[in-house]
Assembly symmetry: C2
Homo-oligomer: 371 residues x 2
Amino acid sequence: SSKIKHVIVDFAIKAKNIGVDDPRRIVHSLKVALAITLVSMVYYLQPLYNGMGDAGMWAILTVVVVFEYTVGATLCKGMNRGLATLLAGALGIGAESFASLFGTTAKPIVLGCLVFILVGAATFSRFIPNIKRRYDYGVLIFILTFSLVSVSGYRVERIIELAHKRLSTILFGGATCIIISMCVCPVWAGEDLHQLIAENLEKLANFLEGFGGEYFRITEGDKPSLASYKSVLNSKATEESLANFAWWEVGHGKFRFRHPWKQYLTIGALTRQCAYHIEALNGYLDKKTEAPSELQKTIKEPCMKMSSEVGKAMKELGLSIKLMMHPSGSASAIHMESCKKAKEELNTILQTVMVGEHDISETIPVIAVTS
Amino acid sequence: SSKIKHVIVDFAIKAKNIGVDDPRRIVHSLKVALAITLVSMVYYLQPLYNGMGDAGMWAILTVVVVFEYTVGATLCKGMNRGLATLLAGALGIGAESFASLFGTTAKPIVLGCLVFILVGAATFSRFIPNIKRRYDYGVLIFILTFSLVSVSGYRVERIIELAHKRLSTILFGGATCIIISMCVCPVWAGEDLHQLIAENLEKLANFLEGFGGEYFRITEGDKPSLASYKSVLNSKATEESLANFAWWEVGHGKFRFRHPWKQYLTIGALTRQCAYHIEALNGYLDKKTEAPSELQKTIKEPCMKMSSEVGKAMKELGLSIKLMMHPSGSASAIHMESCKKAKEELNTILQTVMVGEHDISETIPVIAVTS
């Protein structure tokens, strides 16, 4: 029993930390609960129930599957669901009427063939990258609605009325989701993406600033701050899904409706490129244990200068992305200048090529273009 | 009109390529179409319809959302859906009876509060990593079923009969999915993971084997084959989802039921680590254009030997993973030996540290443990 208690306490602590880490998660849970409670009012209030009837079930179903963490994701799913239901409903009714032309015996066979062909084609289309990225959920709902409408049309008499009721409840549920997710403490995917890109640059900058000291064994004990760049290595999937959702979002705060979200992906890719090189640099930190050689003592000064100046320049760039200001003329150019000087100095000392030096020079032009 | 035609032809070619690339995608589409057509038979055949009635809708709904590309994913969703429906249905009926104790006026309020609390808690639990990884869909279905049952219980008289019918059709739909996905040309997530890991090792090996020649400008024109390692850099998400799905799969082919899938993730992480270093090495290929210096001519021989021997050793390891044989005593150890010799030779020539050399030495022990 003490073991069970231990597990429960452990679980509670973990859950608390997740909430404290990002309080927006708690707010999101409350928002979903609120939306479902509101929609289920359809059942409790007699006048509403008379209008919708059992189709109110579809409103609850829609809220559960459409309500997502970010506004963009909710809009994406809501729009997909609404449009796909409309399209598939119309096609389904069409298929049902078409099959009726063949008489009672052949009708189920014709219907079955139509369902088979359309479902197969729609499932296959989910493998096409462009469709998968933006309309995956829509295709799923299309398959669902088309088979439901065309098949149940075989049994239900007043299919138009059924379709009308179902569609209106789905729109009602979808609208509830979108309004609540946009008006009550909204979580914008675009803003998250913006922050993520700027923070990733900052993480790399922190590593570069600290690298010189760590490598030449001057500073001690602040190693954890250097490892934070590791998360940048695998940020691709997160960035891409955020950019996709941001595409659906209306303008908010500093962002216009058609903000160039794709540019963020370009910066993100360059940042990751840079992180790969840093990962290679990091390998040297673990390996080197022997006392510094004579050569290392000679190159120490320019190397440390180079690494810290690149770090400072990246920090400036991260900051200018965060504040959406043009970085030209700012401090980052000065840092790059002194970094180049240090590099030349280093080159005169030795002819061997260091890894870190060509990282930053390729990130600069793109960042200057954006923001 | 010629523009529209152009777009359509373009689209058709793209779709064809996707099918040719991996014919299992076409088979999958046909399997989904088959499953839905089979399940919709419920509506066409009178005796079946008499048994299920309109609840047959839930069978179609289940097939559409549960049928996934791999067997593991289908099993994961099917099990989640079945168990969550059972649990939430029971809880929903319980909540409904509990609320009835408070009299007709207070009942909707009590029900609303219960729904609010449980939905909020369940939504929050989806942020907990362990739950998200394996039971995310189950929690979603739990929320859906619980609110549907407890809320519609307010209006429907014979709720037990409704729940029974709905549950049996969901089980019917889920069973159809699982049987078809396992028996008709199954796509096992575990096997895909196995292949992916082995192929990733091979891609890195190809790069290393070709790197020496490319760097010292001996071979020309086969550059595309070297760039194939790039996909390894971002394979983390794919590997993790495959390993998750593989966890659900029953034994098949060479794999037992509880195959140590987690070990594949460890190998995958080391492979990626290695790919980061290779990415850094690759940076040198684009940069170097001037004629080789005197130093480079001196180190050329051992460097090329080292790189190609490491590549050969990795190829051996990839092969032994593919064939699930123990690599000890095989050719890879010999390659590593000659690589070490080349490295020592290089070290006597110059004291500077090359990047590539410590890649492979850390991958070996883990791979020896597995398979």
